[in-house]
Amino acid sequence: MNAGLIQLSPLDLLVASGFVVVAAGISMGLKLGIERRLGIAALRTVVQLGLLGLVLEKVFAVRRPVVVLAMLAAMIFFSGREAVARSTRRYTGIGLDAWLTMTVSCLLVGGAVTQVVVGVRPWFDPQYVIPILGMILGNSLNGVSLSLERLLETLDARRHEVELLLAFGAARAEALRDPMRAAVRTGMIPITNAMTVAGLVSLPGMMTGQILAGAPPLQAVAYQIVVMFMLAASNAFGAILIAYGASRRLVAPDGSLRLERLRTVEDRGRGGRKR
């Protein structure tokens, strides 16, 4: 069995970038107005992944725990920032909440998977720790941003319903039950979808990567199952923790709403709106 890789040349990458150009062309033709964003996103992908490649080569070569931890800290920082970057509503402390969520999700799920399930030795082996935690953070990020957006929208648009419950003596947890439930449910959509169609519609990313790299399919499947469950946990942690954190900032312990702390951010793209 050929365990080797077909090497990709810069020319191959250039050809692949044609897909983005086609998508941008469609956007211009249909006046969707997303070509600028698409271009920037594509550029970011190239620059970020390029830099990552360079950094990973160094980190893998050095193999020191402090370097791995520093890299994880940087990943947590960026994932927290990105998780709230596109939120249409903000409150003071939103960034801190996102970072805390990411850190907890990263430590709990990442720790369990790398140290217990996979049993990485030495514990900081960057070849395992960094990609696994990268996946966890990426999924937490999805959970966080969807859950947060839904929670803030619900509290804002349906404050009268929350206050109706409060007016009859509901405790904070009782008044927040429905908004929290809606937020977590929304935050879990990507991973429940991914788990439902795994293997039927899509070959999940990690498995695809391993098979492309020449791993035996059953081994790739075993890893993918671990990864799916891990991602479900990180997605759920992200969705739940951020909803918990945000609701505690926007609703006082006695239940009164502190929605004056909430502000609407004007979308920097088209179709922006002001409150």
Binding site: H160, L164, A167, F168, G169, A170, A171, R172
Partner: protein, 233 residues
Amino acid sequence: MVAPAARRSVTLPLMTLLMRCGPLTGQNGEGRVLFENVTLELEEGRLTVLEGASGSGKTTLLRQVAGLEPAPGARRRLGERELGLADLPPWRSMVTLLAQDAPVLPGTLRWNLEFPFGLRNAGDRRFDEHRARSLMDSVGLAGIPWDREAASLSGGERHRLALVRALLWDPPVLLADEPFSGLDPDIAGICSELLHRQARRAGRAVLAVLHDPALGAGADRKLRLDGGRLEAS
């Protein structure tokens, strides 16, 4: 020592004082002071009507008393009991606001009548279906099936539903913010009568803001929020 708030409060010969809340200071969205150091006192078995020009802060005052808006420094007393900030949820269950816009929860009409009785602070209060039916009948909502989505009710129907729920809940103090808006004069008269009856029961009091002065004609006491002060009118 008498606090300034107490000096400014209305001093009428009191029957039994049921509720006292203050000093309250309210601002509007732009930060303009609507009222300052106001203390509200309600007597047992009486219907008090709160008047005042639009924008004078009546709704803000009611919301502060109900504990839905922050009222820094305010002390809350119900009967012999002094309730602190940590007791706001139980306070709200006893000093309940009937909100101006008569919001409903997603779900059926039945759920909208029953939900308060499932809350932790409901204590030993139980939903009385028989009384609910009879109240719904008297406000002219007998024909609406209870499994109907509450969101599909008209504005006037929602106001009546909210009134029925508040009467079933039967809190010691009911704060009603324009409870009859959008109602036909006939129905408004019936609802007004129900509110009067609720107010005059033992251990109960009602404070109402009414858009139509005629509906408050039989009130036991009238207060006016004017120029930032609460005065008897």
